[in-house]
Each structure stands twice: as structure tokens, then as C-alpha cells.
Symmetry: C2
Subunit: 451 residues, 2 copies
């Protein structure tokens, strides 16, 4: 606490001047000699979508390790984990049959973890406006039907992650709730804000006590179409999916370090997740976070920065459907008796930076806020208490005092692309990506200096 | 000033609570029942690029007047002006001829106002890294050649408008400076940040005492190519353009008003510019500003707001190559003895909002800053002294005390599209556009309430 007060008092001192000069160098390197955009192109185009357990995920591990070695980090190693292995298969299609015999092919994606349909299935559709409405339904009205939950993300939320949070349970729990009432399958409206033709996949779960039924997300434009048709009378839906789960597969967290010069046993962990969903290219989610953090460490090394603490870059595996990477990383750290003093995560896309959240005590929130004077020139203005991230979250279990920092880019476009075929390299802006890398590098530097 | 202090004191009062409630309604309307995106689609697709003096500009005037009447504003009228009339013509092409005989076709656009080449021309190329370097050149080295100024926008500027300002003179004055030294034509590197194939046009000028030479902008990727070829030896350039100027044409500012209920003779002017360059669709520049302001007034009317002062929406004509609309508007206001008390402009694109600049006395900057508590929930954080805008700028000449407010969206992507074929509707994000309209409507409301 004393150090924090001192820092505030010194905010116009020579030291603060040096911070500003160094941070300016960080930004100049990111913007004039950056490699983030080319690294993202490579991850998206040379590998592409990389769901846990896939050959692409294996290639991403290879890519990550090779990149870290190429950049000459002090230690580069893999951390073996077991990950869920689910595959979409080759058949995935759906049609609406209207009362008057018209047929409409829809854009859909099986939700991650869903069972297949074992050939095609066909049933009447019953629509619910929300998951809560489904829960209250009479089982007689649902039995044997395909449930369609048409819950909209709330576009009036300025922070789009809040709108996402409001619909998350529909995707995660919808299949269990529909099956409890005897439904034969569930379709949900995609968790995306625009009304367009891109379906958005994402994780769902089953419970052992309830029969498993197929689950898929319709694109928002098809959800509107189905709802319109249902307003005019009955409709049937034909669904075929041959997705399935396989036994757990071996995979890895990829780790690279710059060793601390003063306190090498004190570790600042930072990273994003290397896996993605199996559609699009995982460009914003979370290719952007991967290259933000990779580029951050590359820049600090390029500028010949000698960290006080050990800076540990982690490409976490399996954030999307299990979080095995994050959980294993935290438990292994504890087992080894490591001293984890802070963690940073970037997993909200490669958009223009706004600032950082801190999930930690008031002392650490105050520390974060003390960085504002150094960072405000870079259009950063969010320095507040908030969420860290899914991958670094498990550290809290073993290190209750650790502050977790979440990088906060602008949220307006994220749910245009999230988990959708449109999450491709072309939808990431070069400058926005570079500014994100510079912001993460600057926070890493300031934390190393002030912890 | 007293009112401003009072406002600060009352910031947690019932009044502030009412402001917040009303502003929430503004945002809800923009996000759930908005028409900004569809209006922009119509302006971009039903009309398209609309340079002053063109049939498209005439259609845009028709469109603007019809929209204002459709929305039922109290008064809708046109203000006649004379505008420059320049046309690109039908031939526009350029080739690099390298020393070893290779031919490369480039992407280029004549600068607005340039003369044509009168058939094709061919000459040796001489490159300068900056306009200043050109000014210092020996005339013997330039005479008869095509000058190529390859000045880069400074990507290290966080605010991209600063980077633009640093290159602006190359485009505006380059032809005059090159011609003074005997050059036969000038090519400039496009004023765009990405290295891509889109040339960026924009205004340039001649002076009577210096011979007029053709002027064009190469896409940044072609500028790099030409520079690379010149590193290896001499290169020639073949240029053909049949652009030309015509006599001034008649056009119009389009004006719509909501009449003030308490002080109808006190006017708050707000708007953007209806003309665009003749490439792309003028989507960000300044279709976004047009629909921000149109939607702002529509929302206030929809919410049954009764303004104290007269709110006057102006679609200015001819911002891009003459500013005749802005100049005429200001001088007519003065002639009529109007009381202009404030003005707002949106002309920096349809990107995620950051806040507002105020070009005015400290009193008005303080007033703007007092709005922060009402607007911070909407991700707005820029409330500072700064630039108003080109169209409202001339009001200062006649109303030296008037505060001018410039809407400030995020600047990172603007110079990807500015004056380029890529400035099309598809590159504007719906939510970002809607949030801009809500931000402008909120500022309009707060100014009306507090002035």
C-alpha cells in the first residue's frame, strides 16, 4: 500500500517520466515494427479453427511453441493436459416446413458437445421467448416436439457482454430444460446481436439424470423466419447432425517465460486461449488475445527490458469447452509451490482498446487506477474493478489474494463475430490489434515495475 | 457560469436523475427502434457517391428534404448556394515502366480539382520522401518529370487525425510546389494508414501564378511498389486522366427545424455534410454524420421532447471541395440577424463513440465536462477542448463567442476508408452508428437544457 501511495505522489516525477518514455517506445514498436497482425494472419490462415482435440489444435500448439522459440524467450515448454474431444462431423442441416408446405433451409450450427440426430429427425416446433418461459411450460405441450428458444440478446445493454450474459443459460442449460419436459431436440436463437445469416455455436452441457437431446443454434435471421412462420400456424422442423463426442485427447498449454532479474520466483502470468470453436478462424476469439500477449512479450524483449519478476506467457488450451487448460495451469502452479503474484488475460477480441478491469482487492484496483496518467494518452480510460478472465480465473482458487486483470477492448462488434463463421482474420483491424498488444505490454510493464 | 456551477452542485439531484432517464430513453430508441442504419443504407445505395454539382448530389438534396418531411420536423427548407463542379471523367489510369521494361498498372485516383492529362503523358519519375524535401529540390532535377511525393501518415500517432494533418499539405499544395520546379505532373502517396490497394482522393488547389499540372494519389501499396522500383534505378510513369472542372453549379443546404418552445429565436445548429467524394459511397464521410444528426432529431421528436431553443438540423453541401455550404450558412445567419448560440458537427465517421470536443471558451468546456456524469455509462469519456468541424467553423467568423462541439468517435479505422472506394455502407457497423446517433442526440438535449 505504501508503494502505491508513493507512486501516486510521484506521478509527475522523473520516474513517471521514464514510464511514459518507455510506454511510448512500446506503442511505437507495436505500431511501426509490429508482428501482431502477421502472427494473427498465420494463426488464422496456416491453421484456422482449432477446437480442442482436433489436428488444428495440435498444429496450434506446434505453432505457439515455434513462435515462442523464434522470439527467443528464456524458457519455452509445454504443459500436458487432457481435453474433451467433440467433432461436428460432416452432416449438419436443417429445414423449416411451414403449414402450407413451403420449405426453408436454415443456417445452423450444432452447439458444442451436442449429440447427433442419428439420421434425420422431424417434429413439430414449439417456440418460447425465453429459457424461463420454457422452464414453466406444461410438459404435455412440449413432449416429442422440437423446442425453439428465441431469446434475444438485449441490444439496449451498452456493454454487449452483459447482453451475452443474459442469454448464456439458454445455450448452456437449454437442452437439459427442454429434455426434462420431453422435447426431442432444441434449437436456440444464436447469441449474436446483428440479424444476419451467421449462426453462433458455443458450449452446452448435459446432466446424467436427463436424456440427451440434440441442440443447435439458428442464425438470427432464420430464428426470425421460424418465429414469423409459427405466428401463422404450426411448423415442423427437419434436423440432421452427426456431431459426437470422443474420448478425451491429450493436448497442451504452451508456455514461454522471460525470467525475472530481481525476483525470478515471483510470477506474473498472462495469456489468452489457443483453442477456438470449429467455425470461422477464431480470429477475435481468441487469436487476438494470443497475439496481444505474444506481441507484448516480444516487444518487451525487443526493447531490452529486464523484468524484475518472471513474466510468464501462457497459451491456454480448451477455454471454449472445458477450461481444462486454465484449471490445470492453476493446480500445477499450486502443486509446485509457485508464487503467482498477478495475472492478465486478453479474451474479448482485437478491437480498439478501452482499458482494464481488475478482479482483486481495493489496493490493486487503486494500483490499476494509478496507471491511468501514463496510459490516458493512448485512448485508455477504463481502470476499474471488474472481471479478469476464464483462463486465469482458477488461480483464485489457490491464490485467493492474487489480482486478475482483464484487458477491455471496445465491446460493440464482438458479438457480430463470436463463435460464428464470420470470426475470420479479415474482420480484425490491424491498428486496433496493434494497440491492444501495446496496451497489454504496457500493463505488464507497469505491474512488473510496481508490484 | 452560475448555471454551470449550479448544475455541478445538482449532479445527484432529481434533475440529474431526470436527465439520466431521458438519455436512457434516447439510447433505447436508437438501439431498439433506430432508423439510422436503414437511412444510411438508403443514402449509400439509393444514391451513392455524391460530389458537389453531380446528379447524385442533386438526388441527395431531394433525399434529405424528403426524409426531413417524412419525419415531420416543424420547418423544412433549402438554402441555395453555388458550388464547384469537377468531374473525374471516364479515363483514369497509370502504369509504372521499370528500367528493365516491366509494366505495372497502379490503382490511382485523380485529386479533386485536378486538370486532366489531355491524352496520355509519360515522363521519368523523381521521388521525394516529404513535401518539404520537394520544396528544397533543385529545379534542374525536377524539370519535365513526374514528381512522386511518398510521405507516409505517421502510424505512431494514436489520434489518426493528427497523422492526417501531418500529410494534408502534400495533397493540397503538392501540385503548386511541384509545378514551381517545372514538374509535368504530381503523384502522391494516398493519405491512408493501411498498406492496401485503395487510393484515397481529396481536395487540392492551384494558384493563378503557377502552371497547372495533373495531380493524382496512388494507393499505398502502389506507392511502395514505385518506391521499390526507383531504388533499383530509373522508372517512367504513364498517366491518363480526363477529369476537368466545369462552371459552378446550383445546389443547396438542406435544413430542418424543431421550433423552440421558450426561446424560438435562439438557434442550436447541428449537422454533417451531404456531399461526399465521387468514389465509394461516402458512408463514413459523411453519410454517418448525416444520419447521426437526422436520427438525433427524429429521436427527440419521437420521445415528444419540446426543446427550449430552436434545434436546427443542417445537411451542409460542398464540405469536401469548397465549404461553400458552411460559409453560406454562416453568412446568411448573420445577415438575417439570427441568434446562433451553439453548434454541433459530426464528420469523423460512424465508429464507436468516445465523446465530444468543444471549441469555445473555458466556460463552455466546463459545461461540456459537467455532462460527463450523465454520459459516462454510455462509454463516453472524451469531454475536452478541441475542434468543432469544417461546416460549423465559419459561424465563428460572425459569432465569435459561439461554442462549437465536434462529435468524437474512435479514430482508428477512419483512414482505412476516408475518400477511398472502400468507404461503403458495408464498412459501417450498425451498433456503432446507432450509438453515435444517441450520443449526438444526448448532447443536443443537454445543451438545449443547459444553455
Amino acid at each position: 500500500m505504501y508503494r502505491i501511495l508513493l507512486l501516486l505522489l510521484l506521478s509527475f516525477s522523473a520516474k513517471a517520466q521514464n514510464d511514459s518514455t518507455f510506454i511510448r517506445s512500446v506503442y511505437n514498436t507495436a505500431l511501426s515494427d509490429g508482428e501482431a497482425y502477421e502472427d494473427l494472419r498465420s494463426l488464422c490462415k496456416d491453421i484456422g479453427a482449432r477446437i480442442s482435440g482436433s489436428a488444428e489444435a495440435e498444429m496450434a500448439v506446434y505453432w505457439g511453441e515455434a513462435k515462442m522459440r523464434e522470439y527467443g524467450f528464456d524458457k519455452v515448454y509445454l504443459q500436458e493436459i487432457q481435453v474433451p474431444h467433440w467433432e461436428r462431423g460432416t452432416k449438419e442441416a436443417g429445414w423449416i416446413k411451414s403449414k402450407d408446405g413451403q420449405l426453408f433451409k436454415v443456417h445452423l450450427l450444432a452447439l458444442g458437445g451436442s449429440i447427433g440426430t442419428n439420421g434425420s429427425m422431424e417434429a413439430d416446433v414449439i417456440e418460447f421467448k425465453t429459457l424461463d418461459a420454457l422452464k414453466k411450460a406444461n410438459p404435455n405441450s412440449v413432449k416429442g416436439k422440437i423446442v425453439f428458444v428465441n431469446q434475444h440478446m438485449d441490444e439496449q445493454q451498452i456493454n454487449t457482454f452483459r447482453a451475452y450474459g443474459g442469454c448464456y443459460a439458454m445455450r448452456g442449460n437449454g437442452a437439459v430444460e427442454a429434455s426434462k419436459l420431453g422435447a426431442s431436440a432444441i434449437l436456440i436463437r444464436s447469441l449474436g446481436l446483428p440479424v444476419d445469416e451467421h449462426p453462433h455455436t458455443g458450449s452446452m452441457h448435459y446432466v446424467d439424470s436427463v436424456e440427451r437431446i440434440p441442440a443447435a443454434a439458428l442464425s438470427t435471421i432464420d430464428a426470425e423466419k421460424l418465429s414469423d412462420i409459427l405466428k401463422k400456424g404450426k411448423a415442423r422442423f427437419v434436423l440432421e447432425m452427426d456431431c459426437r463426442s470422443y474420448p478425451d485427447a491429450t493436448s497442451y498449454n504452451v508456455i514461454g517465460e522471460m525470467t525475472g532479474t530481481e525476483k525470478p520466483d515471483e510470477i506474473i502470468t498472462f495469456g489468452g486461449h489457443l483453442d477456438s470453436w470449429d467455425t470461422g478462424e477464431g480470429a477475435h476469439d481468441d487469436g487476438a488475445g494470443i497475439v496481444h500477449c505474444l506481441e507484448a512479450l516480444r516487444i518487451l524483449k525487443t526493447l531490452n527490458y529486464k523484468p524484475k519478476h518472471t513474466l510468464r506467457l501462457v497459451f491456454f488450451m480448451n477455454e471454449e469447452n472445458g477450461n481444462r487448460g486454465g484449471q490445470s495451469y492453476a493446480s500445477i502452479a499450486k502443486e509446485k509451490g509457485e508464487k503467482q503474484i498477478a495475472a492478465i488475460e486478453s479474451d474479448r477480441g482485437g478491437f480498439t482498446p478501452r482499458g482494464f478491469h481488475c478482479d482483486g482487492s481495493d489496493e490493486f484496483v487503486t494500483l490499476l487506477q494509478s496507471f491511468e496518467s501514463d496510459l490516458t494518452h493512448y485512448d485508455l480510460h477504463v481502470f476499474e474493478k471488474g472481471y479478469g478472465g476464464v483462463d486465469i480465473g482458477p488461480l483464485k482458487k489457490y491464490y485467493p489474494e492474487i489480482p486478475l486483470f482483464g484487458f477491455v477492448p471496445d465491446s460493440q462488434r464482438y458479438f457480430d463475430f463470436h463463435h460464428a463463421p464470420s470470426d475470420v482474420f479479415e474482420n480484425v483491424n490491424k491498428r486496433e490489434l496493434e494497440l491492444g498488444a501495446a496496451a497489454v505490454a504496457s500493463l505488464l510493464y507497469l505491474l512488473d515495475l510496481n508490484l
